[in-house]
């Protein structure tokens, strides 16, 4: 099991069972008011909802090596990554329920979660988290700080310009950034072989002169080992790494996805290979037995249930709040207040 300590295994397990249970609970909450007739705008959580059951290993394995100062950008399927990065679970949940005390006061929703305290952000536009991650890495390099940045993306995003351009920019400047492709075989209804050549995202690294690592199974321990190397390389000033990890889409692309395009056998295959059970056996081997694991699970479930209960108790935003926050609040003062009086009023004669 190489370099991963028992403490790290335990903490990954905690992140993964939290994330899995979180998605299961959100699914329940989301479906409330949407059965029998599914209406996307009904129920306590309206709008699109992309859940990440089966993706947990990439989140836990990579974020295990990050501190709050390190930046993470996530795509449209962000919850497991946010949890592993240490985003405030209660306020994140309140955001998903569209409440005033949510991370973004109800303005962002589940695809647009921002927690600057732990340098986490996500975006609903494919691959568009990559350039900002490169920018965070650039800032770290310019300021001589040791922090790194991680951009997560799906395997469907590996043919988007923003990703490919980011690989080059990061590589040519040796920036401390790690690109993590969560390869669940599907981009909504499109199998990876239909839309990407080659389908293995890690091979994009070859063309950009950086290490490309492929992990063929969602084994959190293997992800953690590979991430240790990639993050270490970035922190040491040796440039970017591209990782691609095979994960599994255990649910539809979004809630309500009929998945009629997906062969039964494929669904079955994705249900069977469970990264959490795999990690449990690593824990067992490291001497963390089922009793201890059960305690970890119970604590995680309690945390999730508490967060959901808290979120549902929070007030909805006042409608007029919709008109606030287009610009920084409070205003910066430079452009809005205290004009330099002798120049502000003279129409340019003194320029």
């Amino acid at each position: 099991m190489g370099t991963v300590t028992t403490t790290q295994l335990r903490s990954m397990y905690e992140d993964m069972v939290t994330a899995r249970y979180y998605e299961e609970r959100l699914q329940e909450e989301y479906m409330e008011g949407k059965t029998p007739g599914f209406d996307i705008s009904a129920g306590p959580i309206p709008g699109e909802l992309h859940l990440a059951a089966g993706h947990e290993a990439t989140a836990a394995g990579v974020c295990a090596h990050l501190t709050d100062e390190d930046t993470v950008t996530a795509p449209h399927r962000p919850h497991h990554i946010a949890i592993a990065k240490g985003v405030d679970l209660k306020r994140m949940t309140a955001e998903i329920f569209g409440r005033e005390t949510g991370l973004s006061a109800g303005k962002g929703g589940h695809m647009h979660l921002f927690d600057p305290d732990v340098n986490f952000a996500c975006s609903g536009i494919i691959a568009q988290g990559c350039p900002p991650a490169v920018g965070a890495a650039l800032a770290a390099m310019k300021r001589n700080e040791s922090s790194v940045a991680v951009a997560y993306l799906g395997e469907g995003a590996i043919s988007q310009g923003a990703f490919l351009e980011s690989l080059n920019l990061a590589s040519v400047h040796d920036l401390p950034v790690i690109f993590v492709v969560e390869d669940n075989d599907w981009a909504i209804s499109m199998p990876k072989g239909r839309i990407s050549a080659p389908p293995d995202g890690s091979r994009r690294a070859d063309g950009f002169d950086m290490p490309g690592v492929r992990i063929d199974h969602d084994d959190a321990t293997a992800v953690s080992e590979a991430a240790a190397e990639a993050v270490g390389r970035a922190r040491d000033g040796n440039g970017p790494t591209l990782m691609s990890v095979q994960v599994h889409r255990r649910m539809g692309h979004f809630m309500g996805d009929p998945e009629t395009y997906r062969p039964e056998a494929d669904q079955q295959r994705h249900q069977e290979r469970d990264s959490i059970e795999r990690l449990a056996s690593d824990l067992e081997a490291a001497g963390v037995d089922e009793d201890e694991r059960e305690t970890i699970r119970e604590d995680a479930h309690e945390r999730v249930d508490d967060a959901i209960e808290w979120a549902k108790d929070q007030p909805e935003p006042e409608p007029e709040a919709a008109l606030e926050d287009v610009f920084s609040n409070p205003p910066s003062g430079v452009t809005d207040e205290d004009p330099t009086p002798e120049f502000a009023g003279d129409g340019g004669a003194n320029r």
Binding site: G98, K107, M111, H112, Q160, S189, A322, V326
Partner: protein, 337 residues
Amino acid sequence: MSDDGGRQATMSTAMVEAIATEMRDNDEVFYMGEDVADYGGIFDSTDGLLSEFGHDRIMDVPISETAYIGAAVGAAQEGMRPIAELMFADFFGVCMDQLYNQMAKNTYMSGANVSVPMVLTTAVGGTYSDAAQHSQTLYGTFAHLPGMKVVVPSTAYDAKGLLHNAIRDDDPVVYMFHKRLMGIGWMPAPDGPKTAVPDEPYTIPFGQADVKREGADVTVVTLGLHVHRALEAAAKLADDGIDVEVIDLRTLVPLDEATILESVQKTGRLVVVDEDYRSFGLTGEVISRVVEAEPDALEAVERLAIPDVPLPYARPLENRVIPDSDDIEDAIRQTQP
């Protein structure tokens, strides 16, 4: 008029019929987009087409909008008639150069030696808490940039006729369908977009607005989802003796100024309702056209649009910024003596 013969169809069915007919009649027509094949389009825009035409003509493409939309431009310049779907209009940012610097300008820059006979289909609009990156209409953005025709159907009848026309048009056409109007199972449509649709193909020419309701007291100019919200407001106001005319623009480029002016000359009162941002957009444009042409025609004018903020997620916030039929009713009352 919209209820000539035929059976009732949803807007998505009407679109699919137009595409299928054009593809049967012309081998040079093909469709590219994400999830358009096996899925049938996230908003049902290509539902069922794969089984008839196969993956070669109903093409799933990589999530590389610049590449495949640019490829549509190139194939169109070769004389083919591609239809490329941008899943949400909000995603235009990742492919805008191909749209506004290539697709929309090549005809002009070539002194009209080159034509770009393609259609860009794209889903627009909010009302279902999909937040700032998936709820915009961007009508004004596309209509602002010269070189593309911009079509916004509000009913199944219009959707079919306008799409036939779009595919046969020799210029680039941006065909913007409102998600809320498509009749998708998981996003219930209001009453109204489902109309009678003739089985046979027909075209609706661009630049002809449709008076969806005649009235003598006030003119409401609108498009897309808000045609139905305006009709709802008009029905309520009729009980109070306010007689509302509702004009559905149907195309923004070209814009049917004549129909608007004729109506305003009759009513003297104008309300423009848009689901795009307020400033530098459709509402200001329509009012300017009227004022330029008939400076004295207006006794009262109101406009409703998104108040220059990104579309928020939470329900009370989104409801605050997207005009509803009550807002339209209030605006109309404001114009009354």
